[in-house]
């Protein structure tokens, strides 16, 4: 931590300042919009862009991560708080900060306990399904503010402003970057410039409001944005700890998954390694900081971090600069922020979640692995039907489910000898010779609780099809580990086979697996032997059985 500061070189400053400015410009409309998604006053979203990124800069692991409000986490916050308090009430604001505190503490503790591996509980298809589901829920929630439909009917000025903003943003998304390139900008700069379209559209719409008197015509605007920095204080509702615990666990988990995604995407480009435990600590401390300033749960944002990187950020100083700029915007007169029209903000949210509505993972999975594709669709459906919290649980269950389902169908090959060679191959793929008394099975998978039943079943099947077998050789060349459950399965298989007059042998056991097996009684109990290679097992056992059949009295 803070290595980046000790090694800071002056040449990096220009990039960091540029990125800091760009990210601050992105954060102003985004922060306000995402606070609204969470059911909070817009200014809270700006608060969340100040202390959290500074703390992440001190404790986090990714160099170019942009920590702050993020739309999915805002949705989860709104979902968690809806049953507990009325949106907009004082209690609601207190609970949002308390939720950030609790999530932050959970993340920090997990980081200190080195539980970073929990990031691996979600497969990518499931994460994609979750994101798609959440994007749809968020977009649907923005239709009302977009068209001003909290009024008795659709409100024409709001509708015009909302759809106009939406159309501009969609056009910008498609054509602005190529246009800027054609105007002579570099590709990277053009891309970054295009990312500022939401800011430009919102500012433009905000200028229109007083010009056309739209707020007096009934277009909803952000309203009072108090000037000045957030105070450092922590109001807590002690009656709500219990109710907030489960949401905090689920939100903490998603905060971590999202920030890890963002960090890893950038790490690949920057030739960095992400340490998941430091990442836990970084976002944990950032959330505690968010709570201290009365804000809401925050995370590393994939899209904003990508902009930060593309705009030239070299170190977390970029985030610190963007935080300072945000603070300055709050210290300066905030009158201009009070007239931001909500339909235009809704348009920016819809365009942002459109960017999350990515079907390429589904397309690839559909062709490559139907099970993963179904898990993706089921997770998205779960979020849509049962809500975003249930969606997290469903996502973990489906990730684990596909894993265990696949594990329960291990690839096992009956081996035969390629005539005249020392090579043993799958008899279904090669013309390989077998000996009736010897069954050689190669298990192409680690042995663990998820597949021992399937391995046992396959062994039984092959033995029933080959009544002459007297020697079962398990060829372990593809087995990289054997867990306790599988150890017991082997320990129980051995005497069961002995009763049937079949000896159990192991061949080609890998070094680390053998080291571990030596800690158990299995090798001592084995009715058969341990062979270095399949060919040695086959040669010796063939000799034995031939001798036995020639001289049955022996």
């Amino acid at each position: 931590m803070l290595q980046w500061l000790r090694r800071y070189r002056r040449e990096l400053l220009a990039g960091d300042i540029g990125a800091g400015i760009v990210v601050a410009m992105m954060l102003i409309p985004q922060g306000m919009a995402y606070a609204l998604v969470a059911g909070l006053p817009p200014v809270v979203g700006l608060y969340a862009g100040i202390l959290p990124p500074i703390l992440y800069a001190l404790f986090g692991s990714s160099m170019t991560q942009s920590v702050g409000p993020m739309v999915i986490i805002s949705l989860m916050t709104a979902t968690a708080l809806a049953p507990l308090a009325a949106a907009g009430s004082g209690l609601y604001g207190v609970l949002a900060a308390q939720l950030a505190l609790l999530s932050g503490v959970v993340l920090l503790v997990c980081g200190l306990l080195r539980l970073g591996f929990v990031a691996n509980f979600f497969s990518r298809p499931v994460m994609s399904g979750f994101t798609i589901g959440a994007a749809l829920v968020i977009a649907q929630g923005q239709i009302e503010p977009l068209v001003g439909a909290d009024l008795p009917a659709v409100h024409l000025p709001s509708l015009t402003l909302g759809l106009g903003s939406l159309a501009l943003l969609l056009l910008a998304r498609q054509y602005l970057a190529p246009l800027l390139v054609r105007l002579g900008m570099g590709a990277g700069a053009a891309d970054t410039g295009a990312r500022l379209a939401p800011m430009v559209v919102v500012v433009g719409a905000t200028i229109l409001v007083p010009l056309l008197g739209l707020h007096e015509a009934g277009v909803a605007v952000t309203g009072d944005v108090p000037s000045g920095l957030p105070g450092l204080n922590l109001a807590l509702s002690h009656g709500h700890w219990r109710a907030l615990l489960q949401p905090a666990l689920l939100i903490g988990f998603m905060i971590f998954l999202i920030s890890m995604s963002a960090a890893q995407t950038l790490a690949l480009k920057r030739q960095e390694k992400v340490n998941s435990n430091y990442e836990l600590i970084g976002v944990g401390v950032a959330n505690i900081g968010s709570a201290l300033t009365g804000a809401l749960p925050v995370t590393g944002s994939i899209s904003r971090s990508a902009v930060n990187f593309a705009a030239g950020a070299q170190t977390p100083l970029a985030s610190v600069i963007s935080a300072v700029l945000l603070a300055l915007a709050l210290v300066a007169p905030t009158g201009w922020l009070t007239l931001m029209p909500l339909p235009a903000l809704a348009a920016t949210i819809i365009v942002a979640v459109l960017g999350m509505f990515d079907l390429s993972t589904l397309r690839t999975a559909w062709r490559y692995d139907r099970g993963d594709a179904l898990a993706l669709v089921a997770t998205a459906a779960g979020v849509l039907v049962l809500g975003v919290e249930a969606g997290v649980v469903i996502g973990v269950m489906l990730s684990m489910g596909t894993l265990i389902w696949r594990a329960s169908r291990p690839h096992i090959a009956v081996l035969g000898r390629i005539a005249g060679t020392e090579h043993f191959r799958n008899i279904e793929r090669y013309a390989a010779e077998t000996v009736p008394e010897i069954l050689m099975l190669r298990i192409d998978s680690n042995l663990f609780f998820g597949n021992v039943d399937a391995v046992n079943a396959r062994i039984e099947e092959e033995l029933q099809a080959r009544p002459a077998v007297r020697h079962l050789v398990l060829v372990m060349s593809a087995v990289n580990s054997i867990d306790t459950t599988a150890l017991f399965a082997l320990k129980e298989l051995n005497p069961a086979l002995k009763l049937r007059g079949i000896a159990l042998h192991l061949a080609e056991v890998k070094g680390p697996v053998l080291d571990r097996l030596k800690q158990s009684e299995l090798l001592g109990e084995l009715t058969g032997r341990l062979y270095l290679s399949a060919v040695m097992a086959s040669d010796e056992l063939s000799r034995t059985t031939r001798a036995a059949s020639l001289c049955p009295q022996i």
Copy 2:
């Protein structure tokens, strides 16, 4: 299904009749005791021994499974119903049957959907920890009936009877079978005989009750046992469906796990294969049958099934015979059942759960795999501290947690060439030579969402330690599958390496993995090549790099 009946041969009959009698004798005290554990009238436990085993005989997959009340499932039933109704009330009985119905329907539906693989969500250490925790909870619950402590103080006659029964049962457990062998019995018959000790002790204690007037002295007895068969009717409380759903899912899961354990233990001995989907259907239908006769959730019992097998059961006819005998006992005058002293029944339960308190898995795991041992202890502690329902969830989480934790630390070896040979080995284990421009990594694990981050991190680490590398060769000889998440990781690694001037090659990709990769764009996008073997990759890439260094202008 029912194949066993079509193929039935007369020679099997003697074994089935003998086993049927033994199991019925075991079931009478067991059924009554386990109904008490579930908070139900004792006769309900006998009802659960009639229709369920008959239905399992028709639909189940294991030949010698004994389906009926089981003490852990009774404990879970009591835990589930405690917050919903008072034990002994009419509603309580209705809800117990409703729970059996719901569990049965869940199991049946899972069976029809072929979800048998869910049995693999529990590792053996976790199952052992769950059993130990449940055994302790059950034993603790039996101390009160054993010593008659529902009276103002310990009740001396109850205490004497309870501890006396306990002492006899413990002695029988230790010495009866050897004694019977010494008296000339065969080992198998002696073992079966010893298993009937609880029946003998309970009958003996029951005879003492009227003889010594113990029930008048305040010793609790079973009380009214209505004569006659249970009626086929299904009383339901429609207001409780929602409250019963989660317990039914957890109980259904444990019913399945326990019956699969029982079936598999016996299958190994009988040279059978267990079909987990048929097993789901079998116990599902059995539970629906239990509900129809107003009984409680049932499952295959490991101990009773073992006795059934040992007593000579050849087919499910043994279970049908035992069910018929139980029905006859109910049709006959049931007066003798009404005076069974509860302290003696409590003693049989304590001895039964002592048999479940097996520390050998813990001992083996402690030496073989510390992580598995810790998961065992944590699951047992979870059951003790948070209860048996939370214990199931904790068990699944710990099974999955150890799996993902292990997956997140895959074994990856940097390969070098054994001088003068075509063999490539781990440079940490062998004196093997490497080429500065070529990094060969062998990944000793399947590639999936649980380990892609770790693989990426290791690649980055090795590349940072070897700045001269221009070719990264992933040797896939130990990779049996690549899931969608890992496919994306490779697809993203490829261009990231390209930016750094490093080509990505794959070597020794297995047939099935390659077949699948051909469904994706990865092979087309690859900056490097696909090599059949590590040696081919090394030879060609060494030539290329040597040529490049000799003639840098090329």
